[in-house]
């Protein structure tokens, strides 16, 4: 059945506006309603797999009005957003009892989901900016939610850098409007293909890469992430690290660079270099950390580097293939490019699942022990059995041990790099996987193995909704490998997304012909 696209935005928005009215007595009712909304969004997202639609809001025809576009990449990301937000909302039923003002937390959480859904569905570049701002403002407030010293400092740092990034993005949108005269993504793409890039548009592209790169925490712009992700409450860390940096950063960057401007050789190399820097710097900085969540935050930077590397590699191959000499020498270039982009996108979805599971388990550990420092923990394997199992599953997945999901995505990336004759990139991928192994062995040894300190003898497992959320994500970790192994699932879910990016600037023709 066809779900009208605005429902993805309208349903959580209406609930987010209703929830602050509940007050202290209606806390349970508010929690139940919020969980119903996220489960409903999950049902909607699953029902929208494989469909593509262009929805004109208010019945104004484009380019006069704004439109919502659902294509393969959007439906893949909608699925990821709804899975992670359903799990995090279920986890926060029990976890957020430690904080006050729970209805306001739920309202901000739903506003963040609205913002992310809007970014993914938007077909108009200023609309993308508005929804990006909604999601960012909600996340700034959520990072500083428990108003302690460190959380306020982290929230201020995140907010200053995030606002500067948003202003860069707005400036770039203004430059695009000044040079092309329209705001609809399909029409901008057609205008840029017709007229070519002048100095204003090149500056706009640079501003976009800086702005979205800061939202995605690529390495020259990553300074906010190691402070913001540990200080947030655990379900918010899971949302931030799991999908916010991917939707606001990687998806928007891919949409703008691939579908609107068109990839060129220099942009492809820039993405590859940024990805490699992020991978290596994130891994090296993570190994020396002694704070559990800070280590996971640095490892997020490293894994996002993988995603950008895959997408950049695909883009470079497509850009080189514009030259007919390259096409004759390498007749399989289309297969190589789509394999690289498939690796990047599959790694994005995998990372969403297992990094949010890791942050949820770290929240469970923090709730049981009251600390985040690795040196003060130890031997929690008997006290927290479910947490230990799920954390081990997630760590095995992120390191890349078969048959868990992380192995398949890293294997696809390595095969793509070797096929395209970038052997040094494959070597760097393997090296960073070894560093990831080191850091997660450190987590396992210090948190779960070893001796139990005396003050932690009373630590108990927290049952209930937290457990359900963690087990749900752990099952997905195990089963996600089937997304590439079973051909039917791959064609339904992953291949349309890859096709959107490898089609590149034919996006505009697709949009105007669907209408």
């Amino acid at each position: 059945m066809r779900i009208p696209l605005p429902l993805f935005i309208a349903v959580p928005l209406v609930m987010a506006f209703l929830l602050p009215m509940f007050g202290r007595k209606g806390k349970t009712a508010a929690t139940v309603l919020a969980n119903l909304v996220t489960v409903l969004l999950l049902v909607f997202a699953v029902a929208s797999i494989g469909k593509s639609e262009v929805y004109e809001v208010g019945k104004w025809s484009i380019p006069l009005g704004i439109n919502l576009v659902l294509d393969g990449l959007s439906s893949l990301l909608l699925l990821a957003i709804s899975v992670v937000s359903a799990a995090a909302m279920l986890f926060s039923v029990r976890y957020m009892e430690q904080y006050t003002a729970k209805p306001k937390y739920l309202s901000l959480f739903l506003l963040m989901v609205v913002g992310m859904n809007g970014v993914v569905l938007s077909g108009d570049i200023f609309n993308l900016f508005v929804f990006l701002e909604i999601a960012s403002l909600a996340s700034y407030a959520l990072v500083g939610f428990g108003c302690e010293h460190e959380e306020l400092e982290a929230s201020f740092k995140y907010m200053v850098l995030g606002t500067i990034a948003s202003i860069f993005i707005l400036f770039a949108v203004a430059l695009i409007y000044g040079n092309t005269g329209t705001l609809n993504m399909a029409y901008i793409s057609k205008a840029i293909q017709d007229s070519g890039l002048n100095a204003g548009l090149k500056f706009a592209l640079a501003l976009f890469i800086a702005g979205f790169g800061l939202k995605a925490a690529l390495v020259p712009f990553h300074a906010w992430l190691p402070d913001a992700h540990p200080s947030a409450p655990a379900p918010i860390s899971a949302m931030l690290s799991g999908i916010l940096i991917k939707t606001l950063g990687v998806y928007a960057l891919a949409r703008v660079v691939f579908n609107i401007f068109g990839v060129s050789v220099s942009i492809g190399w820039l993405l590859i270099v940024l990805g490699l820097l992020s991978m290596v710097a994130g891994a090296f900085l993570a190994v020396g950390q002694w704070d559990l969540k800070r280590l996971m935050a640095y490892s997020s930077i490293s894994q996002i580097g993988y995603v950008i590397l895959g997408i950049g590699l695909g883009g470079l191959i497509i850009a080189r293939a514009a030259n007919s000499g390259y096409r004759q020498d390498n007749p399989d270039w289309a297969a190589w490019a789509s394999l690289a982009v498939l690796g990047g996108l599959f790694h994005l979805v995998n990372h969403a699942v297992y990094k949010s599971l890791l942050f949820l388990t770290s929240g469970s550990v923090e709730m049981a022990t009251g600390t985040r420092q690795l040196k003060q923990m130890g031997g929690l394997a008997e006290k927290l059995p479910f947490t230990r199992t799920t954390c081990t599953l997630a760590s095995a997945s992120i390191v890349g041990i078969p048959p868990f999901s992380g192995f398949w995505s890293k294997l696809i990336l390595i095969i793509a790099a070797v096929q395209a004759q970038f052997y040094w990139i494959a070597a760097v991928i393997v090296f960073v996987s070894l560093c990831t192994l080191i850091m997660y062995l450190k987590v396992q040894r210090y948190v779960f193995l070893g001796e139990l300190p005396e003050n932690l003898q009373q630590a108990k497992e927290n049952k209930g909704s937290m457990l359900v959320a963690m087990v749900f994500l752990a099952c997905l970790c195990v089963l996600m490998g089937l997304l590439v192994l079973v051909p039917g699932l791959k064609q339904a879910i992953l291949d349309p997304a890859v096709k959107v990016l490898t089609d590149g600037v034919r996006y505009s023709a697709v949009i105007t012909e669907v209408l």
Partner: protein
């Protein structure tokens, strides 16, 4: 030429947000950057010798259509709508930033960001 001055204002705001050590001055720098971008957006829609894009009864012809003289002389109203949205967004962002500054002052006792450095590494 006015675009270059707008860009200069943007650079001034960026300098202030990056270099200054007082939290409130950083917030003021960010606000100056937002004003510069809003100004740039409005200037994009300008047409020299243009009139305000508000339709009055003298601009309507008998059949209810808009007169061609109005269409050829009015400035572009779309950037004005974009700037309205952008001003509302920056208002919300400013309110959040100032409230975090005030809360941080209550906790740490200072506005100086070199003193607020508990998160390291």
């Amino acid at each position: 030429m006015p675009y270059a001055l707008c860009f200069l204002l943007f650079m001034l705001g960026l300098y202030c947000a990056v270099v200054k050590k007082n939290m409130v001055k950083i917030v003021v720098g960010i606000m100056v950057m937002e004003y510069a971008v809003n100004l740039f957006l409005i200037m994009l829609g300008y047409r020299s010798g243009g009139t305000a894009p508000i339709i009055e009864s003298s601009h309507l012809e008998e059949s209810g259509q808009i007169a061609a003289t109005f269409l050829s002389s009015s400035v572009d109203p779309l950037p004005q709508a974009l700037v309205l949205t952008s001003i509302v967004i920056s208002l919300g962002s400013l309110a959040l930033m100032i409230s975090i500054c005030i809360r941080t002052y209550e906790k740490y006792g200072t506005f100086d960001i070199t003193q607020i450095r508990r998160l390291k590494g």
